[in-house]
């Protein structure tokens, strides 16, 4: 009568070992990505990378200075669209929304969040590139800005809702009107969380390539102003990675390393702050 029992015990051990192996596999992917990028990109990374324009085909050297600046400009534009709409939309949902309008807004936010990034590119192409007649930084920034909206709305709403009702009631009991209470008590209490949420949204769109392919388009040179096509880090990585030149691959690795480092640093810092914020608000 010993055998079924041992078999059950064995199954127990074997199955949990398998799930442990699954976990190990999933977790090691991040370290593989990071390690491989460091190995391949580390030695291609130098000062030129941050200060020089891309070298013409056939010449070695050069850098991605225009792509770095282009990414920064795109993110500024994206923030100008994504932050006001995302933040105030989130305030509406958490503090002012009735039932039906709030349901509609929440539903469309979810819908917008699920739109594939390439489709967002088509949208910006239709409303900006077709209207202006050419590719531009503006079009890319708008595409990224729209992508930011749903993420910013969600984090704003989540953190406003996490503010205890006693704070609101306290403010109202002291005679503050609702908007005063929201603006001077509720929003300041939730602000660290909201700001980190917006930073996460920025980090997310900073790595987006697909919506930029036919909006910001890419550029081998500097892009003055907002009306011309611009290079960006993710877009340049894509173009350099699929090119047949060994030298370009090296630079793609270096750019990948820079982009990944930026994204991971923001994410790690943000998640630590968020965790503390959640604890503070609940505690």
């Amino acid at each position: 009568m010993n055998s079924p029992r041992t078999r059950r015990r064995m199954t127990n051990i074997v199955m949990f070992a398998i799930t442990g192996a699954c976990t190990l596999g999933a977790v090691s992917v991040l370290f593989f990505i990071l390690g491989y990028l460091l190995w391949q990109g580390g030695h291609a990374l130098n000062l030129d990378f941050f200060t020089k324009l891309p070298a013409p085909v056939g010449e070695t050297g050069g850098g991605f200075a225009n792509a770095i600046l282009g990414s920064a400009k795109l993110l500024v534009l994206a923030s100008l669209i994504g932050i006001p709409i995302g933040f105030l939309g989130g305030v509406y949902l958490a503090e002012f929304g009735g039932t039906t309008p709030a349901f509609v807004v929440r539903y469309t936010t979810d819908l917008l969040n699920g739109v594939p990034s390439i489709v967002m590119g088509i949208f910006a192409y239709r409303i900006v590139v077709v209207t202006m007649g050419h590719f531009s930084t503006l079009a890319g920034g708008i595409a990224l800005g729209v992508m930011m909206i749903p993420i910013a709305v969600r984090s704003t709403e989540e953190f406003l809702r996490a503010v205890p009702n006693t704070l609101r009631e306290g403010a109202l009991a002291l005679g503050a009107t609702k908007w005063r209470a929201v603006a001077t008590v509720v929003i300041p209490a939730a602000l660290p969380g909201i700001i980190t949420g917006i930073l996460l949204a920025l980090a997310r769109v900073a790595g987006e390539t697909a919506p930029l392919l036919f909006t910001a388009f890419g550029n081998l040179f500097w892009s003055p102003g907002w009306n011309q096509p611009t290079a960006s880090l993710p877009d340049t990585i894509f173009k350099y990675a699929i090119a047949p030149y060994e030298d370009w691959h090296q630079q793609a690795w270096a750019a990948g390393l820079v982009l990944l480092t930026l994204v991971l640093v923001v994410n790690i810092a943000a998640r630590f702050i968020l965790r503390r914020q959640r604890r503070d608000l609940r505690g």
């Binding site: 059950r8 015990r9 199954t11 127990n12 199955m15 799930t19 192996a21 699954c22 976990t23 596999g25 999933a26 977790v27 992917v29 991040l30 990505i33 491989y36 990028l37 105030l88 509406y92 503090e95 002012f96 309008p101 509609v104 807004v105 469309t108 979810d110 819908l111 917008l112 699920g114 739109v115 594939p116 990034s117 390439i118 489709v119 590119g121 088509i122 949208f123 239709r126 729209v146 909206i149 002291l174 005679g175 503050a176 009107t177 609702k178 908007w179 005063r180 001077t184 008590v185 790595g207 390539t209 697909a210 392919l213 388009f217 894509f238 990675a241 699929i242 990948g256 990944l260 998640r271």
Partner: protein, 326 residues
């Protein structure tokens, strides 16, 4: 501290209390209105997105109608546009992603929720969530130089020697293929499956586990026969969410799928996905008809992902409701 000014204003002028209150009430309405306008912008942007996709595809919709979806020829020069090869490529890569990703993801979620101590589980879940933040172009970059050669040199020969009798695993393998697209997608959707499934599993009430263990079941039997079935809807929801991600994923797939607009049965053959076709052809599209065809592809993709996302949300909602009630 900012409050004190309100209090002082109210207390200091007893006779003007009513007009002040009314004025402040109006402030309430203004604040409501301003936030409502911004919230309505979200609705308008989404509606505009739908409208632009719909009208942008007008030319091909009028010319091809529903046959756009079933046509197998994609020839921009002859103005012949059929989306089936792309739809096929998208569905096959996403299916492969789920076949590879779901067992791994659910396995890891079970480990994290049922076996690992809470501190370890939180730490590992944190690392896995970081994976979701890695930009897709970086997955693509790595896949080109590591995954593609690996599949070509090791996995393909192995599959051919063991399962080569199936048409799925026949033919020459060049590395860039439907399988490469599916594999990189599997890795990319893993964090979504793991973190949501883990949360759903953690939400299963403790009594369920205790009752099963008290009846003499082993821990694995408890997990597999009690906890997982209890969380089933939520886990399936996470899989649908992963599916929506896989369907719409562009860059990584574009870089490894091979970009060949033909329907090939073998997973070693190159293919093409909807998103990859838009990414590659849009900026070089010649003529309104070609642009229109690509926008219609985008519209098809939009509709599919919206539907899949809706199902996912519904499923996740039902599970969290259920465990919230008990």
């Amino acid at each position: 501290m900012p409050l004190s000014s309100t209090v002082a204003a109210n207390a200091g002028a007893p006779r003007r209390v009513r007009p002040l209150a009314r004025r402040l009430q109006r402030g309430d309405q203004i604040a409501h209105l301003i936030t409502l306008i911004f919230a309505a912008t979200i609705f308008i942007v989404t509606a505009l997105l739908f409208y632009e996709l719909y009208t942008g595809a007008l030319l091909t919709r009028q010319k091809f109608g529903w046959s756009f979806l079933s046509g197998t020829t994609w020839d921009p020069v002859a103005l012949e546009f059929g989306a089936l090869p792309f739809i096929y490529g998208t569905l096959v890569t996403s299916a492969l992603a789920l076949i590879i990703g779901v067992p791994l993801g659910v396995g890891a979620a079970i480990f994290l929720a049922e076996l690992a101590p809470l501190g370890v589980s939180d730490g590992l879940a944190f690392i896995i969530e970081l994976l979701a933040a890695v930009p897709s172009v970086i997955y693509g970059l790595l896949a080109i130089f590591t995954l593609v050669p690996f599949l070509r040199d090791y996995v393909a020969p192995l599959l051919q020697s063991t399962l080569g009798f199936l048409p799925l695993f026949q033919g020459q393998s060049y590395g860039v293929s439907l399988l490469a697209g599916g594999s990189i997608l599997a890795i990319m959707v893993l964090p979504f499956i793991i973190s949501i499934s883990r949360e759903v599993l953690l939400a299963v009430p403790r009594e369920q586990r205790e009752a099963s263990l008290a009846l003499g079941a082993t821990q694995w039997e408890t997990t597999w026969n009690v906890v997982v079935p209890y969380a089933k809807a939520g886990i399936i929801g996470s899989i649908f969410l992963a599916l929506a991600r896989a369907l719409g994923e562009t860059m990584a797939v574009t870089m490894v799928i091979g970009n060949d607009p033909r329907i090939n049965l073998s997973v070693f053959a190159p293919g093409y996905s909807i998103a990859a076709a838009i990414a590659n052809e849009f900026s070089e599209a010649t003529g309104d008809m070609h642009i229109s065809a690509l926008i219609e592809l985008g519209f098809v993709l939009f509709c599919i992902t919206i539907a899949v996302n809706a199902v996912a949300r519904l499923l996740i909602l039902t599970t969290t409701r259920k465990s919230g009630a008990t």
